[in-house]
């Protein structure tokens, strides 16, 4: 089944993982970060990729800096609440380095 990626950079990243035969799934789990009085999750964090063989979540952050700050805050909260979850954040610069190294067609220039 075709996956509908939120951003072309995610599709490129998935293609890179496929090339190196790294198994992955896309947004398989949302982590609740904040609940209301009724116990409903009102804030969640959904990492882009999960690599089951490495038990590793990866979040691509191709956003402008003002939004990265918000995402960093969410990530800190996730690490507080789920200390056993292994997650790596790829910033725009990281992704652009990947793009340059691997000749990815999509540099992380647009906002998501």
């Amino acid at each position: 089944m075709a996956i509908s990626f939120a951003h072309p950079s995610e599709a490129e990243f998935a293609s890179l993982l496929d090339f190196y035969q790294i198994r992955w799934s896309y947004e398989p789990r949302s982590f609740p970060l904040q609940h209301d009085d009724a116990g409903r999750a009102v804030e969640q964090f959904t990492p882009d990729f999960y690599l089951p063989d490495l038990d590793l979540y990866i979040e691509l952050t191709t956003l402008r800096q003002s939004l990265v700050t918000k995402k960093n805050r969410k990530l800190r909260r996730l690490r507080e609440l789920f200390p056993d979850v292994n997650i790596k954040l790829l910033y725009r610069r990281d992704f652009n380095n990947l793009a340059r190294k691997y000749g990815l067609r999509t540099a992380a220039t647009s906002d998501v």
């Binding site: 496929d18 090339f19 035969q21 990866i58 610069r93 990281d94 380095n97 340059r100 691997y102």
Partner: protein
Amino acid sequence: MSDPFPNSQASSLAGVAADPAIGKVLIAEADLAARIRELGQQISVDYGGRTLVLVGILRGSVPFMADLLRAISIPVSVDFLAISSYVGRDSSGVVRLLKDLDHPIAGADVLLVEDIIDTGLTLSYVLRVLRTREPASLSVCTLLNKPRSRLIDQPLRYVGFDVPDDFVVGYGLDFNQRFRNLPFIAALRPDAA
């Protein structure tokens, strides 16, 4: 401007070194040589009395392999492998060996020699392949380590230098097949096309 490499072959490489795409020199030629001598001495101690095989990954590891090999004082053999690159990948769409080892490594102590470990994607694949050959041991020696870029962690037994998250070239490392012949490690300018 004075010649920055007055006592080396680099004098004849001044044109390449002066390329506007080349930014700051991160590791000078003399520092590379000194560190590689240290690595060679340590490897000679650690692998004394064992059957050491150095395995290099073409093409980036060639200068490092050549210098490291000459810094090792115990009996050692050398082999190379080459793997396909994501850049210009073929229709199969997955990484594969372009050149396999020439000799079996079963029962040998294998030291994989790499120019740089950044994402760990290539290393992960190569280690998976080599483990299936049942070496007695399998460790990694990398000249450069870029830990901030790591996606897949692997234990690195020997590391020459940690480098920042710049795109680096020289001493085997290329950008579009250029700059491998620089005798030092330099940052590629961010705006280099």
